[in-house]
């Protein structure tokens, strides 16, 4: 299948998710269960996408594990998103000299 078709589906679905509530929906979601699920979904998605994929992200299990640990520590101390992301990469890069 052509990549353009994939991209069109991706972009179309993503835009619809944003535009329907933003432009047309005027009520509030009442269901407590549904609201709770919407609250937890982003964290669940990010966790499932990160584990175990992060360990394969640098081409070496060791550098990836060190990068992950660095990111966890930086995030634990509440550093900004960009800082955490770059610290993870820097740690993975530095460790590769030792491996």
């Amino acid at each position: 299948m052509s990549t353009a078709v994939y991209i069109a589906v991706m972009a179309g679905v993503t835009y619809l998710i944003r535009v329907l509530p933003f432009a047309f929906f005027r009520k509030k979601i009442r269901s407590r269960f549904l609201r709770s699920m919407l609250y937890y979904i982003p964290y669940a998605v990010l966790a499932a996408m990160t584990v175990p994929a992060i360990f394969y992200s640098t081409g070496s299990l060791v550098t990836a594990a060190v990068g992950t640990a660095a990111a966890l520590i930086a995030a634990w101390f509440g550093l900004p998103l960009v800082a955490v992301a770059l610290i993870a990469a820097a740690a993975a890069y530095l460790v590769h000299f030792l491996v």
Binding site: R35, Y40, V45, T50
Partner: protein, 237 residues
């Protein structure tokens, strides 16, 4: 003129977002070109989607030749949070936000842009939101282009290390709330555990569907065990 000062204020508040996006999307560009996408395709994805996790998952679907239904479901699951943010923002739009303007500004609802716009006192002005979105989008698309185009010019060790950037950002989003709130920690642990099961035991599941399954089960379990209180609704972003 009122709307010009709103625009400038939006550009100013959006600048840190744009700079952050620049570095993160650089990693996305490298990741996508490694998955076999061209520079143009990769840049087009960033321009038309403006989202990190959804794009990363979308590239996985493309690389593994998944079905279009899988692609649509993956995007729906990963990006459904934007519907909640859009809903929240829609309550703060004044009369200046006519339908065509809403159709335009909806394009730019991301976690960070939502946060900056939701923090506005009173109504959100269209020019303000345009400003934030414009500078953030420039950063996101430019970073993607540079990563996809020049990523191959960098030493292998550098691009290897940059492969972790996007995941590092995900960790930065997850950890602080997981530290504060037990239910979030529970959600993250269950989702990560299920993801490991899918990856190593249920190997017939494709990556996209695995993420959907893990996320929905973990979030439903958390919603059932720890329903949110009304005042927590604001934090939902």
């Amino acid at each position: 003129m009122h709307s010009r000062s709103d625009l400038l204020r939006g550009l100013g508040n959006g600048l840190p977002i744009g700079l952050g996006y620049l570095s993160v999307s650089f990693g996305f560009g490298i990741m996508a070109s490694r998955a076999g996408l061209s520079v143009a395709e990769t840049t087009l994805i960033s321009l038309t989607n403006l989202t990190s996790a959804g794009q990363a998952a979308g590239v996985d679907v493309i690389a593994s030749h998944g079905s279009l239904m899988e692609m649509a479901l993956v995007q729906l699951t990963i990006n459904i949070r934007y519907a909640l943010m859009a809903l929240t923002l829609s309550q703060k739009l004044g009369s200046r936000f006519t339908l065509p303007r809403r159709l335009l500004a909806a394009y730019g609802i991301t976690d960070e842009i939502f946060a900056v716009c939701a923090a506005e006192k009173g109504e959100i002005q269209p020019s303000y939101m345009y400003g934030v979105i414009l500078i953030a989008t420039i950063g996101w698309v430019l970073g993607t282009f540079l990563g996809a185009a020049a990523g191959s010019l960098l030493p292998q060790a550098v691009t290897d290390a940059l492969g972790i950037v996007l995941y590092g950002m995900f960790i930065a989003i997850i950890v602080p709330p997981a530290r504060r709130e037990r239910p979030v920690l529970f959600t993250v642990a269950v989702a990560a555990g299920l993801s490991l099961v899918c990856r190593y035991l249920l190997t017939m599941l494709s990556g996209g569907f695995a993420v959907i399954l893990c996320a929905v089960v973990a979030a439903a379990a958390a919603a059932w065990l720890f329903p949110i209180k009304d005042e927590e609704e604001e934090d939902a972003a």
